[in-house]
């Protein structure tokens, strides 16, 4: 479905964008084939500091894992050509805006602002009580854009890496078990943190290939580490200390993980900067790649947003 953007009287003057002289048509993302959607996304990020390109397969998984509603998501058009993209995830009364991007030649015409406004309205129409987004910390214009809509910054989320390196396993005196998917998800459901959208239990379940390591000590301490693994990479790493010191329990679990998978690179995305396990991860060689700022908008009664 195509929707007009700004009224003609409010659109940018002809020629102000170089080759794109008129902007402001929008369609639902499900009207575009996935390969083209992928190209629009990648081109909108060509010049980003941290571009994070995706293949078609990766975008397909992204849509699946994070409950992206392509019917509610938007593609912006300018002069009959795709010019930008914004995805909307929907889970019950929560919404998530992701991968907002406008092609370089189509910027400065308000397309991003219009897409955000439209997605907020779509979230409200879907019965959502809140909308969240994660913005790279250094992306001041994006933070200002969302602040202008009433989003409030709630926390810092770290995207961390650990290159493979040899590790000697230390005997921590714990009994260790490796858990399959269902037992891993049962541990994840016990968590007491406030996960981001991508590390939410639902995202972990949708990803599918989740295992866990559980360690228990005779003195009652215990904890677990859930993770996804492929031939290339360990990912979706989550730590849970049920009883005991998170640093000590976390370090023991991480040593088990990396001793069992010594050759794999590891990525742990969106760990809160205040997560009690972060010192354990740092001790095990995890480093910060970049920082995201989570922002949240509470949706008030129909026709208003709570600022």
């Amino acid at each position: 479905m195509h929707e007009p953007g700004l009224p003609r009287s409010q659109r940018s003057p002809a020629g102000s964008l170089g080759t794109i002289a008129s902007v402001g048509e929008f369609s639902s993302a499900d009207s575009i084939e996935l390969p083209q959607l992928t190209e629009i996304y990648n081109r909108s990020r060509d010049d980003y500091l941290i571009p994070m390109p995706m293949s078609v397969g990766r975008l397909r998984d992204y849509v699946n894992d994070y409950d992206i509603d392509l019917g509610a998501s938007l593609v912006a058009h300018a002069e009959g050509r795709p010019a930008g993209l914004a995805l909307l995830g929907l889970r019950g009364d929560r919404a998530w805006i992701s991968r907002l991007g406008v092609l370089p030649e189509a910027r400065k015409a308000g397309l991003g602002r219009i897409m955000v406004a439209r997605l907020i309205e779509r979230a409200r129409a879907s019965g959502c009580a809140s909308v969240t987004i994660e913005v790279i910390e250094d992306n001041a214009p994006a933070r200002a854009l969302f602040s202008g809509f009433g989003f409030r910054e709630t926390r810092q989320l770290l995207v961390t890496r650990r290159p493979p390196q040899p590790i000697d396993i230390l005997d921590h005196g714990a009994s260790v078990r490796v858990l399959g998917f269902h037992e891993a998800m049962a541990r994840i459901e016990r968590r007491s943190d406030h996960p981001s959208w991508v590390t939410d239990s639902r995202s972990m379940a949708r990803a599918g290939n989740i295992s866990a390591i559980e360690a228990r000590w005779d003195d009652g301490r215990w904890g677990w580490l859930a993770y996804g693994s492929s031939a290339w990479l360990l990912s979706r790493i989550l730590l849970g200390t049920e009883v005991g010191d998170p640093k000590a329990v976390g370090q023991a679990l991480l040593q088990q993980l990396h001793w069992r998978h010594p050759l794999q690179d590891a990525v742990c995305e969106n760990i809160s900067a205040h997560d009690t396990h972060w010192p354990a991860m740092q001790a095990m060689g995890y480093m910060v790649s970049f920082v995201r700022v989570e922002m949240r908008l509470e949706l008030g009664a129909q026709g208003s947003s709570s600022h």
Binding site: S55, R58, P163, L233, M287
Partner: protein, 116 residues
């Protein structure tokens, strides 16, 4: 060169076409790794921002392979300098070149790494 962005790839191809270097190009990490293992290049230019398997993971695999131990591994990235330095060191790269590349110094930068 392991680079997914067509414009960046074309630029490097254009610059190196004026030299005697033989350039091979892979569009993603997995095919880049296979190409490197087959051709054992003198230098690997590795974009850190690859789709699917990203550059850091590819670097960790390259550095694990004895047959590629003599290949200079150079990250090509737009990351901030401090982050680039840290990642390059941690993942065993021999250095990095900032994006967008400087066409005037690019060949000289590569030769500096080759001559080590």
């Amino acid at each position: 060169m392991i680079e997914d962005n067509p414009d960046n790839a074309r630029l490097v191809q254009r610059v190196l076409s004026q030299t005697d270097y033989r350039l091979m190009h892979a569009w993603d990490g997995e095919s880049g790794l296979k190409m490197a293992m087959e051709y054992l290049p003198d230098i690997i230019l590795l974009d850190l921002g690859l789709p699917d398997v990203d550059g850091q993971t590819v670097a960790s695999f390259i550095r694990r392979l004895p047959e590629l131990s003599r290949s200079r591994l150079i990250a090509v990235t737009a990351w901030p300098e401090e982050t680039a330095r840290e990642m390059v060191r941690a993942y065993g790269c021999d250095g990095y070149i900032s994006k967008p590349i400087n066409v005037r110094t690019f060949v000289r930068d590569i030769e500096a790494y080759l001559l080590g």
